[in-house]
Symmetry: C2
Subunit: 336 residues, 2 copies
DNA sequence: CTGAAAGCGCTAACAA
DNA sequence: TTGTTAGCGCTTTCAG
């Protein structure tokens, strides 16, 4: 049988209260007693039951993290950074993949509730907004990551998509590009990025052209397909801004297939800075998501909420960062 | 205050035993009572406390998964498949990244123990073998994934590295390559793969050449560096078998830098089939790790052990699968 | 500085 | 078919 606090107490010749105190570093215990107890705990391989201590009202110091798919690098890196920060703060994180299914969301929320996590971290790709509402109503600490629900005001940490869209476009414009296309996605973040794109265009006195703004979903094939459409235009773009690296890789493929070279003929910029970006050929210039920062901030925020019981509902936006590699350059000059 | 089983019982006008029974689907409860109780539970947003039920001896139906780094695609895909299978079997998985640090391994093992996980899943990259021994001694269900410790006999699920190494080499030999180089890694799995490589060489009557077998660690730069060494040989290889995709990407880079083309001049084959492989240029032929199968089998095995309390110590080996893409072909004929 | 004892929320006999 | 009750292992006053 697993040793309990009683076994330790008996073995050490003290009461269970004393043992409990040395475990939790509470009360005042003589160094001698403490040492003895610690020794016995070690000998018996005693591990205090988290269940029992939870039952007495202690917090579990556990955070529940819900993401659509931990196998997606975007989420897994986020998860990793959260784990690290949580670890530093003495918390642990339970991650579950909801697979974009409400049924699973439901199930895991319930699981977390039963396990009495101290707080919920919910990322983009979570569908059951009603469930979130229920948690909010129950005053359970929640933080939204890379996910905006304007419906209620919650702590939120996300990337500044507007500025990201603006900066990528501005960078291309600075390089001298006049016709800059974007491949957008059917997701929340896209609309902000498009807004940034259009404002940058304006600021650089470039005309916005509907033909240069196409929407698709994130696969290499789609990126290639859309790019071909761009290339077929009478006046094709000299630069393409893809809203994620996958699409950018697709764009590269299409460009290469035409016998055009990157960045000489066409510049391509992605978004996310997944590992893909540095391994592509040529290495992809892209807007890096500050995943690590996002994770850290998210944990800090929710821990603050848990411990301080504060309800400020901050909305933190972290800037994407331009990572210049080899897929972008100035447009080909006629004079060359 | 959070509702307890008492609140539900009172509200439904029954005893807590009845409520407990409907929660667990035990005993015989009239449909009417059951419905009533369920309704109240829903109204009160009652979630049974996992802590309390654990305390009474019920299993937690939770599995502890320890991997070095959840941000690494290899591990995150593994994690995902385990999660899925566990979910199907009514278990949940807690994942923690140990970051290859014994200190963290220690910490998370202890965490899992305190949370009373029903079983441990431990993957390659785990250093504290002594800790594993302790668990084994305590008769705690454990399964090793992609990780062999010959020291004790434990349930193990891993990829068949020997056959993988053999098949990749054989494939290249079939294509007509005579000089096949390998880039190995400083990890456990490499030695089996090398063994497969050498045996395949033998079976195809090809000579083994020390110069064509170089070891390095997994970075693109290293892959490129080693490849350059190969290319500098008086008699360079016509095919390179890299023991992971990252190295293969590096090899591709080096080959391209020499103005050689793939696969016309040099064939390249990787191992793992990470997303990288399909996005590279040309798409990489590689040996796919059957991650999904591994995950499933691992969960099935450990759940069997937990529920059946059996102690058979199976060692399951799953075959890697050749995925032919565009980076391999026959060697250039002189006559062309 | 240490011990005794009252719960925490739930399960599982045992009664009714 | 349902209720009563004794713990499960631990924390936390309150005494000593």
């Amino acid at each position: 049988m697993k040793p309990t606090i009683y076994d330790v107490a008996k073995e050490a010749g003290v009461s269970i209260a004393t043992v409990s105190m040395v475990i939790n570093n509470t009360g005042r215990i003589s160094t001698k007693t403490r040492k003895k107890v610690l020794k016995v705990m070690d000998e018996l391989k005693y591990y205090p039951s988290a269940a029992a201590s939870t039952l007495t009202g202690k917090s579990t110091r556990t955070l529940g993290l819900l993401m659509p798919n931990i196998a997606n690098p975007f989420y897994s890196e986020l998860a990793r950074s959260m784990e690290d920060r949580a670890d530093e703060l003495g918390y642990s994180v339970i991650v579950c993949s909801t697979d974009y299914k409400e049924e699973r969301e439901q199930k895991y929320i319930s699981l977390f509730l039963r396990k009495q996590v101290d707080g919920f971290i919910i990322t983009s790709g979570f569908n059951s907004v009603d469930l979130i509402k229920e948690l909010v109503d129950q005053q359970i600490p929640i933080i939204l990551v890379a996910y905006n629900i304007s419906k209620f005001s919650l702590d939120t940490v996300s990337v500044d998509d507007y500025t990201g869209g603006y900066q990528a476009t501005a960078y291309l414009a600075e390089l001298g590009h006049q016709r800059i296309a974007v491949i957008t996605e059917t997701v929340q973040s896209s609309v902000e990025r498009v807004r940034g794109y259009r404002n940058a265009l304006q600021d650089y006195q470039l005309a916005y052209d509907d033909e240069l703004c196409l929407e698709t979903s994130a696969t290499v094939a789609n990126g290639a397909k859309v790019t071909e459409e761009f290339l077929d235009l009478k006046e094709p773009p000299t630069a393409i801004f893809a809203f994620n690296d996958i699409l950018a890789i697709g764009a590269m493929e299409a460009v290469r297939k035409r016998g055009l070279s990157i960045p000489e003929d066409i510049s391509i910029i992605g978004f996310d800075d997944t590992p893909l970006a540095s391994y592509s050929n040529p290495p992809l210039t892209t807007m890096a998501q500050p995943l690590e920062d996002i994770g850290y901030q998210a944990i800090d925020l929710i821990v603050a909420e848990i411990e301080g019981a504060k309800r400020t509902s901050q909305r933190i936006m972290l800037p994407a960062k331009l990572v210049v590699r080899k897929s972008t350059g100035g447009p080909l000059k006629k004079t060359r």
